[in-house]
C-alpha cells in the first residue's frame, strides 16, 4: 500500500506559519477530507503533499523516498493533484485534454496509443462526458470543465489522488457520483485526500478527516470519532446541530 508521510513538517506561506511540526501518515486505502475555514491553507497543504510547495522544516516521504529526490515524471506516475479551476488561454478539444493525463506514462518519443485512448474514453464516461470528445473546452460549462479536469486526473492512474475542492461547480448528481467513485478507489487501495467545504460530504465519503484551524492547530483521525458538532463549531466559529439522517449524521449550521 502506498504511504505518504509527513515528519515534523512546518508550512509557511507569505511569511505566515500555517501549521507547525505536523506528524501525519496517510496510507493507501484511506479517503481523507481536509476541512477548515477560508485561508487556513487547505490548498497549500495539498500543494505541499504534491511536492509543489517545499516545507519550511521537516521531511515528506512517499513510500520512504523523500519527495524532493523524485523526478517530476516518476512522481506524476504515482501522485496526481486536481487543481482549482484555472484559466486556459489555448482551449483544445475534450479528448485531447483528457489524454494529457497520460503524459507521465508515455516515453519522451511516445505517442498515445489504443490503450491510452481506451483509458481516456473510460475516464470521460466515468465523468459523464461521453459524446463530447470533440467539443472545444471553452464551449463547456463550469461543471463540465470540472468533470473534464477530473477525467484528466483519472487518466493519470495515480495511487495518490489529491483533490482541491473536487465538488466545485458540480451539480448534486455528479457530486454524489464522483465522490462515491473516489471513495471506491480508496477502498480498493488508493489514497485519496480532498479539501472540502461541506462537513456532511466529509462525514459521508471520507474515512479520515483533518481539521485545519485558523490558529494553526491541526486535528486528524478517523472521521466517525473526530467529526462532532462541538469540534466543527470550534473549527468554523459557527454553532452546529447534529441530526441523525437516513444515511448517517448530518451537521446543520445555525
Amino acid at each position: 500500500m502506498v504511504e505518504l508521510r509527513l515528519q515534523q513538517v512546518t508550512l509557511k506561506r507569505a511569511g505566515r506559519t500555517l501549521f507547525g511540526a505536523l506528524d501525519l501518515t496517510l496510507r493507501g486505502g484511506e479517503c481523507w477530507a481536509i476541512l477548515g475555514p477560508n485561508g487556513v491553507g487547505k490548498s497549500s497543504l495539498l500543494h505541499l503533499l504534491a511536492g509543489l510547495l517545499p516545507p519550511e522544516t521537516g521531511t515528506l516521504t512517499l513510500d520512504d523516498q523523500p519527495l524532493t529526490t523524485l523526478a517530476r515524471r516518476a512522481l506524476a506516475q504515482r501522485l496526481a493533484l486536481l487543481l482549482q479551476q484555472q484559466h486556459d488561454p489555448f482551449p483544445s478539444r475534450v479528448l485531447e485534454s483528457a489524454l494529457l493525463g497520460r503524459h507521465p506514462h508515455l516515453g519522451p518519443w511516445g505517442i498515445e496509443g489504443e490503450v491510452d485512448l481506451a483509458i481516456a474514453t473510460a475516464a470521460l464516461a466515468r465523468v459523464d462526458l461521453t459524446g463530447m470528445e470533440q467539443r472545444l473546452v471553452d464551449e463547456l460549462s463550469g461543471g463540465e470543465r470540472q468533470r473534464l479536469a477530473i477525467a484528466t486526473l483519472l487518466c493519470q492512474q495515480a495511487q495518490v489522488m489529491l483533490l482541491d475542492e473536487p465538488n466545485n461547480h458540480l451539480d448534486l448528481r455528479h457530486q454524489q457520483a464522483l465522490l462515491r467513485h473516489f471513495q471506491t478507489l480508496a477502498r480498493a487501495g488508493d489514497l485519496v485526500v480532498m479539501a472540502l467545504h461541506d462537513p456532511n460530504l466529509a462525514a459521508r465519503y471520507a474515512s479520515h478527516v483533518l481539521l485545519l484551524h485558523a490558529s494553526g492547530a491541526v486535528l486528524h483521525g478517523e472521521a466517525t470519532t473526530l467529526l462532532t458538532s462541538e469540534r466543527l463549531a470550534t473549527l468554523y466559529d459557527v454553532a452546529f446541530d447534529t441530526v441523525d439522517g437516513p444515511v448517517g449524521r448530518l451537521f446543520l449550521p445555525h
Binding site: 515524471r73 506524476a76 489555448f90
Partner: protein, 321 residues
C-alpha cells in the same frame, strides 16, 4: 491525427507550388523566355541572383517568425504574443544596429541581434509575470512601451550613422526582404528548429496549461521554458537580421491554425513554420508586383493586413472576458 497529417501535407505541397510561381512573378516576365527553352544570361541573372535569394529569404523569414510567434505565445501563455508586437524584433534590430555602428559585421551582427532579442523577451517575461498571473493588458503594455523604446534607440542610431549607410539601414525599421543575402542558413535554421521542437510537442501542450499543471503531469518546466526562451530569441534574431522588423506573421499564423482546429503543438509547430513561410512568400510576391516596377517593403504590407486582424482579435478576446 489523420486530418492534421493531411493539412501538413497540403501546406507542404502549396509551398512547393508557390515557390516556382513566386520566381516567375515580377516586373520582368521570364515565363515565355523560359518556355523558349534557352536560358539567356539576363534571365538567369534575374532568376537566380535576384529572385531566388529573395524567395528563399521570404520562405525562411516567414517560417522563423511563425515558429517564434507560436513559441512566444506558449511561453507567455497569451495568444496575442508576436515578436513584433512585444518589441522583440525591435530589440534584435537595435542589437544588430549597435553591432554595425561598433564596426563589426557578419556573425557579430547576428550575435547583437540575438542578444537584443534575448534581453527583450526577458524584460517582457519578467515585467508581465506579476504575482505569477498572466495579464493580457500588462503584457501588451509592456510590449508596446518596449517597442517604442527600441524604436527611439533605432532612430537615434540612424541619426548618428554615417550618411551613406542610412538608406540600407532603414529596412530595420520597416522590414524589407530586398536586401536579403545568404538566406540559405536561415532556411536550414528554420528546418532544424522545427525538427528539434516538434518532438517536444507533448510537454509543450502541457506547458500551455500552466506551469503548475505541467509540473504535476511530470514536465520539468524550468529547462523546457529556458529552451523555448532561447529558441524563440534565436529565431527572431535570425529573421530580423535577414529581413528587418516584419510584423504580424508570428501572430496571425498560429491563430489561423487554431481556427482550423489544430491545437496539438506536435502539429501546430510544423504547420506554423510552413504556413508562415507560405504567407510571407505570398505577401512579398505581392509587394514586388503590386505597384511594379516599384517595390514595397513587405513589412508595410504585413502590417497593413495584420493590424486590422490584431484589433479584431483583441476586441473578440475582450468580449469573452
Amino acid at each position: 491525427m489523420k486530418r492534421h497529417g493531411r493539412l501538413l501535407l497540403a501546406l507542404l505541397l502549396l509551398l512547393a507550388l508557390a515557390i516556382p510561381l513566386a520566381l516567375a512573378s515580377g516586373s520582368q516576365g521570364v515565363g515565355e523566355r523560359l518556355l523558349s527553352g534557352t536560358l539567356d544570361p539576363l534571365t538567369s541573372r534575374i532568376l537566380f541572383d535576384l529572385r531566388l535569394p529573395r524567395v528563399i529569404a521570404a520562405v525562411a523569414v516567414g517560417g522563423l517568425l511563425a515558429l517564434a510567434g507560436a513559441l512566444l505565445q506558449l511561453l507567455l501563455r497569451n495568444p496575442l504574443a508576436d515578436p513584433y508586437i512585444l518589441g522583440i524584433s525591435g530589440g534584435a534590430s537595435s542589437g544588430a544596429l549597435l553591432a554595425i555602428l561598433a564596426g563589426v559585421s557578419g556573425l557579430w551582427q547576428a550575435g547583437g541581434a540575438f542578444f537584443g532579442a534575448l534581453c527583450s523577451i526577458l524584460l517582457v517575461f519578467t515585467l508581465s509575470h506579476g504575482q505569477g498571473s498572466w495579464n493580457t493588458t500588462r503584457l501588451l503594455l509592456t510590449g508596446v512601451v518596449l517597442a517604442a523604446g527600441w524604436g527611439a534607440l533605432i532612430s537615434l542610431l540612424l541619426t548618428l550613422a554615417p550618411q551613406g549607410a542610412v538608406h540600407g539601414m532603414l529596412f530595420w525599421l520597416m522590414g524589407d526582404l530586398s536586401h536579403a543575402r545568404a538566406p540559405w542558413a536561415a532556411l536550414a535554421a528554420v528546418v532544424l528548429a522545427t525538427l528539434l521542437i516538434t518532438p517536444l510537442g507533448r510537454p509543450l501542450n502541457l506547458l500551455a496549461r500552466g506551469e503548475t499543471q505541467a509540473t504535476l503531469l511530470g514536465v520539468e518546466v524550468g529547462p523546457l521554458r529556458t529552451l523555448i526562451y532561447f529558441l524563440a530569441s534565436l529565431l527572431t534574431a535570425m529573421a530580423v537580421t535577414l529581413g528587418g522588423s516584419i510584423g504580424f506573421i508570428g501572430l496571425v499564423t498560429p491563430h489561423l491554425l487554431r481556427l482550423a482546429g489544430v491545437h496539438d503543438h506536435r502539429w501546430l509547430l510544423p504547420c506554423s513554420a510552413l504556413l508562415g513561410a507560405l504567407l510571407l512568400l505570398a505577401a512579398d510576391t505581392l509587394a514586388r508586383v503590386a505597384i511594379a516596377p516599384q517595390q514595397l517593403p513587405v513589412g508595410v504590407l504585413t502590417a497593413l493586413l495584420g493590424v486590422p486582424l490584431f484589433l479584431y482579435l483583441l476586441a473578440r478576446g475582450g468580449e469573452r472576458g
